[in-house]
């Protein structure tokens, strides 16, 4: 109690003399963000997964591709017959599942990063063009968006992979294309909303170039929803890439991608539950963490979007 009293005493004179400085935007954001326990948990999980992914070579007990012929389908350590050095057990060809999962984190985060960066750059550019130039450009872009929205995302991604051939890179390109419409729509909506405002008119009269108007005046106003969308975009990208991997159209074996690891796990469902359980759990935890953080970011960055 004593500490609290002294704190209040110390604060009172300062407040009486001058109004407190408004908290910096970053600080204000952090205060609102850290109020949300789920979002914090999500953030820390992502930090841990990122660290594991970066230091996979050091952290993982074994190589993700080394096959221990004498240890095929070893159960997890806590089960009878399990070994501590293969904590989560081994797969049908004797590879350590834990090591594969840790290395798999690299792929999932990398996929998320590439897909989000690609779709963000292209989507924002197209959205800016559509909102800024209106007319034919807008119509052309938005009708294309309509068409893309008519196709279920996974089907569209499958179609793109069918053209390009199954591989991890092509899966990433396919997913980046599939998620474009969301970024285009968000950016365009923000542009249309801001264009009518007086500060834009003022800037235009002052002789600001088109690019200045687009990128310096208008784009920052679309940042909040774009950041939220980009965070949630990580989860979509990881899920879709895993789905493509599962269907044999994404990363190819022996890549330790989580979805690919599940592709032939079904055969072992009866005798080795761990083969199919842990990769899926890894996907779920990662996607859940990004969704939790995305929800928290939305609430903290833009209270208007709060659901």
């Amino acid at each position: 109690m004593a500490t609290i009293d002294t704190k209040i005493d110390a604060d009172v004179p300062a407040v009486a003399h001058e109004p407190p400085a408004p908290p910096s935007p970053l600080r204000e954001f952090w205060e609102r963000f850290s109020e949300n326990r789920g979002a914090l948990i999500g953030m820390w999980v992502i930090v841990v997964i990122t660290v594991l992914a970066v230091f996979a070579d050091v952290v993982a007990p074994h190589s993700p591709t080394q096959q221990f012929a004498q240890f095929q389908l070893l159960p997890p350590a806590w089960q009878e017959g399990g070994q501590l050095s293969f904590f989560l057990g081994t797969d049908p060809v004797g590879r350590d599942i834990l090591s594969r999962l840790i290395h798999g984190a690299r792929f999932s985060l990398f996929i998320g990063l590439v897909v989000v960066t690609l779709s963000l750059i292209v989507g924002v550019a197209l959205g800016l063009f559509a909102g800024f130039f209106k007319g034919v450009v807008d119509n052309l872009i938005m009708r294309t968006v309509d068409i893309m929205m008519a196709l279920p995302s996974l089907l569209l991604a499958l179609a793109v992979v069918a053209i390009l051939g199954p591989s991890l890179v092509n899966a990433m390109i396919a997913i980046a294309i599939v998620v474009l419409p969301q970024y285009i729509r968000i950016t365009r909506a923000a542009v249309l909303a801001e264009m009518t405002k007086e500060y834009v008119t003022a800037s235009r009269i002052a002789g600001a170039s088109v690019f200045r108007l687009m990128f310096i005046n208008i784009l920052p106003n679309a940042m909040a929803p774009l950041i939220v969308q980009a965070t949630l975009g990580f989860s979509t990208a990881i899920l879709d890439a895993a789905a493509l991997g599962f269907l044999g159209l994404g990363a190819q074996p022996p890549t330790p991608e989580w979805g690919t690891m599940l592709a032939d796990a079904r055969e072992f469902i009866r005798r080795a539950w761990w083969v199919m359980t842990f990769p899926g759990l890894a996907i779920l935890i990662t996607v859940l963490a990004f969704n939790l953080m995305g929800d928290g970011l939305r609430d903290a960055l833009d209270p208007r979007l709060k659901k």
């Binding site: 196709l151 989860s235 269907l247 009866r270 779920l284």
Partner: protein, 336 residues
């Protein structure tokens, strides 16, 4: 009302043509042409190639080929499967009822569970129930459904032995399928146990496919309910002494459901994408599995036709949802 429907229809037509263009270009962007696919490993002699090119119209300029393609589409000709030489149209409609049946049961499951869960969570905001529902919904929303399917099979089929692992009905039953819907056909067949078998085959795929829509519906219903419950007219209803049950289920729910209906409509795309994974895992003979098989076997006419028909289905359902929505919420009609 009519003008609203017509305006929506006018927007749909260019989208449909766009989809035909995507389906058309898709096949032309694939490295190697249709002749290589037909020729397979052996290859094709130059003379035969020229003859086939002319026969298939591949020697014409691309825009002419496109016009011919669209013309064929409007006559119901979607090409012929390179796999079994059957019309793509027939192949699609042979499998469509299986996907439709699964999608309907999945969305019903999602509504029946998600709507009440969302309502209660919204009314008891901040309660333990609310937190559990929202936690479960976020988990469901983040679920890789192909893994979810494996878990369900492991638990209910392998460990407990309650449900079959795959297919639509036990192989011991054989009867005509006038409707294509297994639930109805098995009842009509009069075979003992057939309906039961059909239901038990349907349960796991339904839960798996319904999981994401269920999560979305629960979340949307909750937030919509919370918003409506803070409205003045609800306060009035409470003030005049109506029972809480009446206030929630009659006054609040009617308005809270409006955005929920839109969200349910938007789940059609999710269902069809989910059907690709769900059908593959449960060996469900629907269009999702057919698309995967067609892609795997490079049966491009089927892929092309399938994409066109699936997109058309999504466009039509979205149109219907739009119109329904405008009936429920007339403000939309006048606003746009």
């Amino acid at each position: 009302m009519l003008s609203f429907v017509l305006r929506r229809l006018a927007l749909v037509i260019p989208t449909f043509f766009g989809v035909t263009l995507v389906a058309f270009l898709l096949v032309h962007l694939i490295p190697g042409d249709a002749i290589d696919v037909l020729g397979g490993e052996r290859g094709v002699s130059p003379e035969l190639r020229a003859r086939l090119m002319a026969e298939l119209g591949l020697d014409k300029p691309l825009w002419q080929q496109y016009l011919i393609y669209v013309g064929n589409v409007f006559q119901g000709d979607l090409g012929i499967s390179t796999l079994n030489r059957k019309p793509v149209w027939e192949e699609f409609f042979a499998r469509f009822p299986a996907t439709l049946e699964l999608s309907i049961t999945a969305i019903l499951f999602a509504i029946i569970v998600g709507l009440p869960a969302g309502i209660i969570a919204g009314v008891r905001r901040g309660s333990a129930f609310d937190h559990s529902v929202m936690g479960a919904a976020l988990t469901g929303y983040s679920m890789p459904i192909f893994w979810w399917a494996l878990l369900m099979i492991f638990f209910f089929s392998v460990t407990l032995g309650w449900t079959p692992v795959s297919g639509r009905i036990s192989v011991i039953y054989f009867f005509d399928q006038p409707t294509g819907f297994m639930l109805i056909d098995s009842l009509l067949s009069g075979e003992k146990g057939a309906f039961r078998s059909a239901v038990s085959h349907l349960i796991l795929p339904t839960i798996v496919l319904g999981t994401i829509p269920l999560a979305v519906i629960a979340r949307m219903t909750r937030s919509s309910m919370i918003e409506v419950l803070s409205d003045d007219y609800i306060r009035t209803a409470r003030a005049k002494g109506l029972s809480p049950f009446l206030v929630v289920n009659v006054h609040a729910l009617r308005n809270a459901l409006i955005p929920v209906i839109t969200v349910i409509g938007l789940q059609v795309g999710t269902l069809l994408a989910g059907a690709i994974l769900t059908e593959t895992i449960f060996s469900w003979p629907g269009i999702g599995r057919w698309m995967i098989e067609s892609i795997g076997r490079r049966d491009y006419p089927s892929v092309q036709g399938g994409i066109l028909l699936i997109a058309s289905a999504v466009i039509i359902v979205n149109l219907v949802v739009d119109v329904l929505y405008s009936i429920i919420n007339p403000r939309i009609r006048y606003a746009s």
